[in-house]
């Protein structure tokens, strides 16, 4: 089930890496840049929201912190250390949100992510001396020459890293623990999983990738404002793309971004102002008819076609070991 997803992912990345060789249209590359940017953000979100089932509607926080980290720190330290600092700051944000809300069950984590992002947005808006306030702040360009192609490759590279990381997570004990937490947290606890800590690690990884994406995005556009970086729309888009593609699947975030970013770009050109309406209808249709997302639904259908019909096991428990039990003399401790 996982192998075909890796293959499809590899093909998508290969095609993406070859595109600039044949096509050097900046508009076109920027559209695909955005597509992969949100794919990497979706893959990051998927670690927390997909595998671990912890709905985050505040990933713009890490995205924005990564961007503002680069923008505000690069004058004093050079851009690369500033990116690292942004990543660290985003992880500290994740630590704050996670260590408080992951001990609780229910909607608290989701609410905390929304609230925290709002707080960051308001801070960015209201500290004009530091962040430039609503006017915004300039960001240094990471690739002064060959701008669009370099950004394009950097973004595809980041997505490949995020994809590889997700692949590793899926096959590791850490991934099993995340899925166990999604399915039933009590069960995870009962087999010795420190669920709060496992969730926190997932969020830290997720925040780091999101911050890198934020820095890339900011650096391409050279100027950022609070509403654009910390806006609710960004958080929602980061969550919705992987959900539609298939939350908790390796390929889901990539497919979701591919389908919806392409669709929204096409709609923008055809329907002009009405494109958001069409986009909304599309989202509603997918949620109604493909609740497990595109990849999730395909995975179920395909495995159902491939495998033999399940054996009726429940009514016929195998008798083997039960019969054997007669031979066993039990060590019976004599208790008073």
């Amino acid at each position: 089930m996982k192998r075909p997803q890796v293959m499809i992912g590899a093909v998508i990345f290969l095609v993406a890496l070859l595109i600039p060789v044949f096509l050097r249209n900046d508009y076109f590359l920027q559209v695909i840049f955005r597509l992969f940017l949100f794919a990497s953000l979706g893959l990051a979100w998927n670690l927390v929201g997909g595998y671990a089932g912890q709905l985050s509607l505040g990933h713009a926080a890490y995205f924005g912190v990564g961007a503002y980290g680069l923008a505000l720190l690069s004058p004093s330290i050079s851009p690369l250390p500033a990116i690292v600092a942004g990543v660290v700051l985003a992880m500290i944000s994740a630590l704050i949100i996670g260590s408080v809300s992951f001990r609780l069950r229910g909607p608290y984590f989701c609410l905390a992510t929304i609230a925290f992002t709002e707080v960051l947005r308001l801070i960015a808006k209201n500290l004009p001396n530091v962040t430039g306030g609503d006017v915004g702040t300039p960001v240094p360009s990471l690739f002064p020459r060959n701008t669009m192609v370099s950004f394009y490759y950097a973004c595809v590279g980041l997505t490949i890293v995020a994809f590889a990381l997700s692949y590793w997570v899926e096959r590791s004990r850490f991934g099993y623990y995340l899925m166990a937490i999604r399915e039933d947290e009590d069960t995870a606890l009962s087999v010795g999983v420190n669920t709060a800590r496992v969730k926190l690690w997932a969020l830290l990884l997720s925040a780091a990738i999101s911050a890198l994406a934020g820095a890339l995005y900011a650096s391409l556009f050279l100027f950022i404002v609070p509403d654009q970086m910390f806006g609710v729309e960004v958080s929602v888009e980061i969550a919705i793309l992987p959900m539609l593609g298939g939350a908790g699947t390796l390929l889901g975030p990539l497919v979701g971004s591919l389908v919806l970013e392409t669709a929204s770009e096409v709609f923008k050109n055809i329907f002009k102002e009405a494109h958001l309406l069409i986009y909304g209808v599309l989202v509603v249709l997918v949620v109604l008819f493909l609740p497990e997302g595109i990849v999730g639904t395909l995975m179920r259908k395909l495995s159902w076609f491939k495998s033999a019909p399940p054996t009726p096991f429940a009514s016929t428990p195998s008798p083997g070991p039960v019969e054997e039990s007669k031979r066993v003399p039990l060590p019976q401790p004599t208790s008073e």
């Binding site: 166990a180 399915e183 009962s190 010795g192 669920t195 195998s318 039960v322 039990l330």
Partner: protein
């Protein structure tokens, strides 16, 4: 020294005394059953042992550690496995993956976890169902899966909360045969049972009877079931009078 020692443990939820002043102990390789009518405090006692709830008073010792205030994951790491009365499988994962989750307590390698899980599943006669998803399985399989997941953690003590409840008698007795073999693995077990007494009589070394959170009897199964206070708890005072005659 006893493997698990519960000393005068109490727990109340608001005005309800769920468990009051209960003491018991169990040795390695022993199978004990906590018996009592619905609401007697069996599940609460299990939740106190595994750290899901914190005791208001008393002390719980396990294998030389004071576990009274331990969190559930720490209790599991010390070697206490448990099953849930209301089964809690990971529905979208397969039977094997569910069991591997337990095995991951001692290894970080999925390959090793898979081997260990397969062994446990073979012991429980679930090899055929290994690659099926946990959702949509019948209750007998669900109950076995609960045991499989707990056994895969290689516990020293396993708590089986109503593990035979709702099963057909034949299946319950088959399961009892399997549970009887737990001491082979060096595992002690405490079962909680409301009324499937055939299983208790068959495999218990020790029976503790709870009623409204109070321990009313303790001893060998054959003795305990004839005690008047036990009969009163289950059938009412009328039957206690009948017994005296």
């Amino acid at each position: 020294m006893a493997l698990l020692e519960i000393k005068n443990v109490s727990k109340r939820f608001g005005g309800l005394k769920a468990v009051s002043d209960v003491s018991m102990s169990i040795e390695t390789g022993e199978i004990a059953f906590i018996v009592g009518p619905n609401g007697a405090g069996k599940t609460t006692l299990f939740n106190l042992i595994t750290g899901v709830h914190q005791a208001d008073a008393g002390q719980i010792l396990f294998d030389g550690h004071d576990i009274t205030r331990l969190s559930p994951d720490r209790a599991a790491k010390l070697g206490i496995g448990r099953t849930f009365q209301i089964v809690k499988p990971l529905r979208n994962l397969t039977v094997l993956e569910n069991t591997m989750l337990g095995a991951f307590l001692h290894t970080s390698s999925p390959a090793v976890a898979e081997r260990e899980a397969a062994k446990v599943l073979q012991f429980l006669g679930m090899t055929k169902a290994m690659h099926l998803p946990a959702r949509g399985m019948g209750l007998p399989m669900m109950k076995r899966l609960e045991i499989a997941r707990a056994l895969a953690t290689k516990p020293k003590l396993i708590l089986l909360d109503e593990v035979v409840a709702g099963l057909p008698t034949s299946e319950a007795l088959k399961l009892a045969d399997l549970l009887k073999r737990l001491p082979e693995w060096g595992i002690a077990a405490i079962g909680g049972v409301e009324h499937v007494m055939q299983v208790v009589m068959k495999i218990a070394d020790l029976v503790v009877v709870l009623d409204h959170g109070v321990k009313i009897a303790e001893g060998k199964p054959q003795d305990v079931v004839h005690r008047p206070e036990v009969i009163e708890a289950y059938l009412g005072p009328k039957y206690k009078e009948l017994l005296k005659k």
